[in-house]
Each structure stands twice: as C-alpha cells, then as structure tokens.
C-alpha cells in the first residue's frame, strides 16, 4: 500500500520542481484510500453511534414505543402532549432557571478569580492549578454526595448560616434552596473557564492599560473599555461552552434529587425527567421527542448567542490572522 501511494507523491514533487503541468493532475487521487482507512473507526462511529441513532430517534419521537412492542406511529402527539405535561413544564422551568443562574454566576466568578491571579506576584502556576482542581471532580457522584451532606439540615452550611441568624433548615431538603445549592456546585467548578480567561487576559497588551491610566481612566473604566472588549472572544467561547454544558447537567442533580427531582420537584432537570420517562417508565417515544426538543432548545440558544455576539464580541485587527 505504501508503495502505491509514494509514487504519485514523487511525481508531484517533480512536477512542482519542474514547474510544468498542473499540480492537480500530478496527484489525481490524493490519499483517498489511506484517508478512509485512517478514518474508518471514526466513520463507523459516526454512522452507527451518531447519525443512525439521530435518524432513529427522530422517527421514534413520532411513535409510541415501550422498548418491547413495535413502535406505533402517532404523529405529533408526543410533542403536543409535552405542553400539557406539568412535569415536563416543570423540568423546562427548573433547567431554564438553572442555566440562567449558574452560567453568569460561574463565569463572573471565574473571571474575577482570573483577574485576581493575572498579576506578576509569583505562585501563579500553583494557584491556577489549585483553583482548577475542583473542575475535575465537581461532576462526580462522590462530590455530589459530599455537597448534599454539607448542605443538609444541621450540617456545616446550616450551622454557619445559623450563626448569622439565617435558618434555612438545610438547603438540600428545602425546595427554595436546593437548586441554588446546585448552582453553587457549578460555581465551585469555576476552574475550567478561569484557566481559559487567564489565557485570554495574558493576550491583552499592557500598553493599553498604561495609556488609559495616563488619560485618567479609573479601574472600572479600564475594565469596561479595555479588559472586557479585549477578552470578549474568550468570554464568548466560555459562555457558549458553559451554556451547552449547563443544559445537560445530570449526575449531580440525580444524586441530590433522584429521578423525581426531590425535594418537591425543585431539581427536576430536563435530563432527569428525560431519563425517568425513557428508562423509568419506558416511554421511549416520548423521551425521544423530549430529546429533540432539548436539541431544538440548545440549538436556538446557540444561534441566539451567535447572533448577539456580533454586537459585543470584538476581534482585534492585528491578531486577525490568529483567528
């Protein structure tokens, strides 16, 4: 195989050296076969595990299917039923509130810590790694258990708040606070966006700040007029990534609230309800329709973010070639 592919390459080399003949004719097939061979695991995966399932799940979303009997076509019924399904509406609400709270709070915290660390006072490598640590374990079952324990009635957080005269009876069991507890768990994992912010902050030219200072711009002014516009591409990247991730939170919510979103449906995330419908009640058709609604929702939010990005994401001219 290798022999066969070398020959055209050599001819190409000769052709370009000699300057005669169009390059394209010198290597007619490129690396065709080799390309597909190297790509074959990925191609099999994309067909069998991604595209195939996508088509199937779109079909299933128009059927009534319980995994054991053959699917029966019911048209748009699954989609229509959602809008009168109180638990579905609840799950949309919980997820929307969570995304709307967790993403901005986490990003603000990440940016704040990144700006704090972005100074030449030494130890930055250590601090950066230490703040990053929780990102690696934050989504695990172990941490979710610990989190629930820390926020349960009479535990550390409750005890601490009681000292300030605030009695919540523990956040884990209080429907008004349980979602906030998960928002805090997301915020605790600020390390990943923080590291990306830091990389962005390092690119901001120092002279800009110096010039602004000479012109009498205060801290706030410098932040709004220099830092934010200069890191806006990084901010946008983080915003996009964190938003998509926040829609899909599952493990922490499941450990804290189980398949019913305890307490009182306050942690009934969209993914939890989808799981419960699909693998708890075996309403596979309905769950498939839910999955497509999720895709639609995430897609719309993504498009919306890209649309607004034109207004506030600023790509500086001289680094344009670096993308």
């Amino acid at each position: 195989m290798s022999r066969a592919t070398i020959a055209p390459d050599r001819r190409a080399e000769v052709a370009t050296d000699g300057g005669t003949g169009p390059r394209k004719r010198a290597r007619p097939s490129g690396d065709g076969l080799a390309g597909y061979l190297f790509l074959s695991p990925w191609i099999i995966g994309i067909v069998l595990l991604t595209l195939g399932p996508m088509v199937t799940s779109l079909y299933l979303s128009f059927t009534d299917y319980d995994l054991f009997n053959t699917p029966t076509w019911i048209g748009l019924e699954n989609y229509q039923r959602m809008f009168s399904d109180a638990r579905w509406l609840r799950s949309v609400e919980v997820t929307a509130i969570y995304v709307a709270l967790a993403v901005p709070i986490k990003l603000a915290a990440a940016l704040a810590v990144a700006m704090l660390l972005n100074s030449k006072r030494g130890g930055q490598g250590f601090y950066r790694a230490a703040f990053y640590g929780p990102s690696l374990i934050g989504g695990s079952v172990g941490v979710a258990i610990v989190w629930k324990m820390m926020f349960s009635d009479d535990s550390v957080v409750d005890q601490l708040l009681l000292r300030f005269g605030i009695d919540t009876g523990g956040w884990a069991g209080n429907p008004d606070f349980s979602l906030m507890m998960l928002v805090l768990l997301a915020t605790w994992q600020l390390g990943a966006p923080m590291v990306i912010f830091l990389a962005g902050l390092k690119q901001v030219p120092r002279e800009l700040y110096e010039a602004a200072e000479v012109d009498g711009a205060g801290r706030g002014r410098r932040f709004w007029s220099i830092t934010l516009p200069m890191i806006s591409p990084v901010l946008f990247f983080n915003l996009l990534l964190e938003t998509i991730n926040a829609f899909q939170v599952f493990t922490s919510a499941y450990v804290v609230g189980g398949p019913n979103g305890q307490p009182a449906g306050s942690t009934l995330f969209y993914t939890i309800y989808l799981f419960d419908r699909g693998f708890g009640d075996y309403r596979m058709g309905y769950a498939s329709a839910m999955a497509w609604m999720l895709l639609l929702g995430v897609g719309l939010v993504t498009v919306f973010l890209f649309r607004t990005a034109r207004g506030w994401v600023f790509y500086s001219g001289d680094s344009g070639d670096k993308r």
Binding site: I6, L49, L60, L116, S135, I137, S140, M149, L294
Partner: protein
C-alpha cells in the same frame, strides 16, 4: 516597601479564597475519620477521636460485593477507554490533518458539529440497538464509542496539534519511501505526545467519573464501577450511614486527585489551549 506589603496582602487574599474553595475536600477528608453521628451538627472540622471504622465498613462491601471489585471495574473501564480513545482519535486526527481525500471537508464539518450535539438525542436509539444485540449489562455499550473516536473534542485537539507540526518532516520521510503508516507511527505519534497525554488523562478521569452510561446499561452490581456503587450504597443504607458514605466517596475521589497532582501541568495546559471542560 509598600509594594512588598501589597504583595503579601495579595498572597494572603488568594490563599484565603483558595481555602474556601478547597474547604469541601478538606471537610470530607476529615469527615471520613469521624463517627457517623458527629459528621453533622457541628462546625468543628477535625475529628475529636479519629476512627477508621468508616473505612472498615466500606471494605465490608455493598450487597455482598467487595469495594475492591468496584475499583477494579472502574479501572478496567478507564484503562480500556483510554486505549480506545487515544488510538482511534489519533488515527482520525491524522487523516483530517494530513491526508487529502474526497469529502474531507464535509466529514470534518460533521465532526465539529458533533462537538455541540447534546448526547441525549442518541441515548435511546443506542440503547435499543445494544438491547437488540443482547449487549445490555456488558461493558460493550460503554466502550464502543471510545474505540470509534466518538469524543470529537479529542479528535479536534489532536488535529490542531498535528497542524502546527512542520509538514517538511512527513514530506521528507515520504521522499525516503515511507508510507502513511510509517509517517503516522514514527513521526506524528511521537511528536503529538503532549496532545495524546492530555487526551489520555481526560479520558481516564471522565471514564472514572462517568455515571450516566453505567446507570443506563449496567444492572448487575458485580459489574458496577464506583460511581454506580456509590449510588447503590445510598439506596441500600437509606442514606443513614454517613461515615461509610463519606469514606466511600473519598475513596472514589482519591484516584482523580492523585491523577491531578501528577499531571496537573498537562491538564491545565490542555484546558487553556483547547477549552476542554474538565
């Protein structure tokens, strides 16, 4: 003088913030040595009378399965995931970054699109397929995707890495008669080591922490990895044995924490260059 004062204050401030952030880890570590009934109800961090009883109860196992078994299962899944992901992602990345073939641009576009695809759209049909193949309650559904480069993030990461390697290296090797496999194996793979290591570490940690896949596919406790065993433990003990629960959570976290301590440079660099979520 004033500068060194602000410097000290800065370090004190950052360390204080760090203490708050890392407090939960210290708290659970301390809690594993406390008797169950004293874990909740006090602000005291350190145990008054440290005990190993919690760990002892964990080693008695859950529903008759020893905790060592769960560790072994997690390790098997993680190691196979790493092997599969690194191999299949590197192969695909080489094709995307270096080879010319019909449809490459379209396929690359599809690969990028899957980066943003919520996987929930796929789970039900995938489950149906694996159920029809009688592969539910085996590790095949959990590992198949790993061997088929379905984590697009890593393919993309390695593509980006290969693209910045000088093309002259493989061109001259080809002139010397090397085929694609030789170029890939002897030139690209060794030069890509940092990207491959980053891929390996993240795959290990993600697999170690994965809960959703095992939750759907596995039903025999004997096959459970640690995260699922933890959930089982909560269900079995009805959540009252806090001490053992904390000890078992801690045991599940320790390998990841060790991984982090050893490889933090690769991890942090990986995130800052590619935006891996961690």
């Amino acid at each position: 003088m004033r500068q060194s004062l602000t410097r000290v204050l800065w370090h004190v401030g950052v360390l204080a913030l760090l203490a708050v952030v890392l407090y939960p880890i210290v708290w659970v570590a301390a809690a594993t040595f406390k008797p169950s009934e004293t874990i909740i109800g006090s602000l005291q961090l350190l145990p008054t009378a440290p005990t190993l009883a919690n760990y002892q109860r964990v080693f008695e196992g859950v529903v008759g399965v020893g905790v060592g078994r769960f560790f072994w299962n997690s390790a098997v899944l993680a190691v196979l995931s790493v092997v599969g992901t690194v191999a299949s992602s590197a192969l695909a990345a080489y094709a995307f970054a270096r080879l010319r073939f019909r449809g490459r641009t379209v396929l690359f576009g599809i690969m990028i699109a899957t980066l943003l695809l919520p996987f929930h759209v796929l789970i039900i049909p995938q489950y149906v397929v694996f159920q029809n193949l009688d592969l539910v309650d085996t590790y095949v559904p959990l590992l198949a995707g790993k061997f088929l480069a379905s984590e697009a993030f890593f393919v993309f990461l390695i593509v980006q890495f290969i693209r910045q390697l000088p093309r002259e290296l493989d061109e001259s090797a080809k002139l010397d008669g090397a085929g694609h496999w030789t170029v890939f194996w002897h030139i690209i793979v060794p030069l890509c080591r940092p990207a491959l290591i980053t891929t390996a570490i993240f795959t290990f940690i993600w697999s170690w922490n994965d809960f959703f896949g095992p939750l759907i596919y596995l039903s025999t406790p004997d096959k459970y990895p640690l995260p699922l065993a933890l959930q089982l433990f909560i269900d079995e003990s009805t959540g009252s044995d806090f001490g053992a629960l904390m000890a078992m959570s801690m045991l599940a976290l320790v390998p990841v924490i060790l991984f982090f301590l050893f490889f933090q440079r690769f991890l942090v660099e990986g995130v800052s260059t590619s935006g891996l979520k961690g």
